[in-house]
């Protein structure tokens, strides 16, 4: 079972105070920590679990600058065999569609049975790349997969729907699955683990190595473009409770009595 996993390095913003950067087109990333996109952590774990069970190789792909090596190395430390970084100034400004074109050309050079991506990325949240990849490669796909069983040349996949419901499909291989969080428990990678793979080669491929023309990638090869970003309107907003913890507790107690029927 040879599996390709497409990953992305993203800034961690869940707990961060986010502000608009000078360009007005992205957030100010100075001072933010970066990590492997949360969904991709589950995708790489699922690939490694399959490899451990059935043998084969796991190749991890990422489009991005040298910084992305950090996330690729994390995947190697988790158990991936090879890492390839797709990088070229011409890739700058690629939207989800252009990114999928770039990944698809790299994938055509590698033998595979399965391609995993995260369902979406924490930063731009297109939720698009994996499914477009399948179309470009002419193979079936399933998005939002939260359970997977391999049965010879096919797989049984559960797709997460709304309200706790799941739908089960049988899908022929090779196929693209976009992996949903919670499908497994991504293994912890120690600093020692990262050190062990520090010397491992990370191959790079650019537009020419992928047989892509400049007009097929970057802004020229994209369907959409970001014009500007802004902080979401706050709406009416909450009445803020301030004071010492004891004072806040008294207010919360009053609210619970008044609105929650607390006796």
């Amino acid at each position: 079972m040879n599996i390709i996993v497409c990953i992305k390095r993203v800034p961690e913003t869940a707990d961060a105070d986010v502000s608009i950067g000078k360009s007005g087109k992205d957030i100010d990333k100075s001072g933010l920590a970066f990590d492997l996109n949360e969904w991709d952590g589950y995708a790489i774990e699922e690939a490694i679990l399959l490899k451990e069970k059935l043998g084969g190789t796991v190749t991890v792909l990422s489009m991005g600058g040298e910084d992305s090596n950090e996330s690729l190395r994390k995947c190697l430390a988790m158990g991936a065999d090879d890492a390839v970084r797709l990088t070229d100034p011409a890739f700058e400004g690629s939207d989800g569609y252009a990114t999928a074109k770039i990944l698809a050309e790299a994938i055509r050079q590698i033998p595979y049975d399965f391609i995993f991506t995260g369902t979406q990325a924490e930063d731009d949240g297109y939720g698009q790349v994996g499914v477009v990849l399948a179309e470009l490669l002419g193979i079936p796909h399933a998005a939002l997969v939260n359970r997977l069983e391999i049965q010879d040349k096919k797989a049984k996949v559960h797709r997460e729907l709304e309200g706790g419901l799941e739908e089960v499909f049988e899908i022929d291989l090779p196929a693209v699955l976009t992996i949903q969080t919670g499908i497994n428990e991504p293994r912890y990678v120690s600093i020692m683990g990262i050190r062990k793979v520090a010397k491992k080669e990370i191959k790079t491929l650019g537009a020419s190595g992928l047989n892509l023309k400049a007009e097929e990638v970057g802004v020229a090869g994209s369907d959409i473009q970001l014009e500007k970003i802004f902080l979401p309107p706050v709406g009416e907003g909450a009445e803020m409770l301030e004071g010492k913890p004891e004072e806040i507790a008294a207010k919360v107690f009053d609210i619970l009595k008044d609105k929650g029927g607390l006796a």
């Binding site: 698009q128 994996g130 499914v131 477009v132 179309e135 014009e227 909450a238 301030e242 609105k259």
Partner: protein, 326 residues
Amino acid sequence: MKEIIVLAEHRRGELRDVTWEMLSKARQLAESVGAEIGVALLGKGVNQLAEVLKPKAHRVLLIEDDRLEAYNSETYEKVLTQVITERKPFLTLIAHTAMGMDIAPSLAAHLKIPLATDCIGIDSAGETFSLTRQLYGGKVNATVSFLKKGPYMVTVRAGAFPVVEKDALPGEMVKLPSPLTDEGLAKRFLQYVEAAVGEVDITQADILVSVGRGIKEADNIPMVKEFADAIGGTLSCSRPVVDKKWLPKDRQVGTSGKTVKPKVYIAIGISGAFQHVAGMKGAGTVIAINKDPKAPIFSVATYGIVADLFKLVPVLKDKVKEFRQK
């Protein structure tokens, strides 16, 4: 006349709410640019659904086939390719849901139509559209434009557009032939699997104390549980807590979990991503505790507390216990 096509989303015999939201948005866009609305309904034995859709569109584009009984991206792609190729709508709207996320990107790529996903705003701008999306889990919004000429496809976030009642439209029934054959599929629907029933039903609680990513470790959950117990509340959570297996799935509030309407909802360490908010916006009173003053949860909360939950929650627990004894 120009046409906007809306893909009706339905599951197990019921139209999903987002269908009405898309039709309302389509109506507003159609009126502003002088277009008509065609609602595409794919299924088996869905005549009743077609009837209720009629007043919301100029026509119902009905494609019935036994092979369309359950959603499958492969059959949907074949049918919608035919519909869009023949009718050439200048805009196709699909929901950014578990279904839309599975079909729209491949359909748009197949048809070579520019696609913008998960939009919360769509404004016509001459021959094209200006779109609003969210980035970084809802912490910032972005204005996005198309770089190519239409036709276009947009996927719409559930809950982003209100349902507006308007005069009925003609709703002409247009039955279209199905292009599907008995040719084998590479992807075959097997069954639905229901969520497991848990020990508690969080949808029945008057007071929910909900914990999110901010709790950091499984070992910290009991602290919140003790607070919930102290106020007679039930413990619930947001998605990351379930993903990490710290609490079972039946405790999850949100799009992929449960929709709750307690009298009081206390969100602790929950940033307020839309998937979570969609599940709790019906709560009577919302108290949010978060250390980030810009957390989106504060825009839906009734009361907000900017605080370190590890310092505040134990005090809340002790003080509330004390007050209750008085």
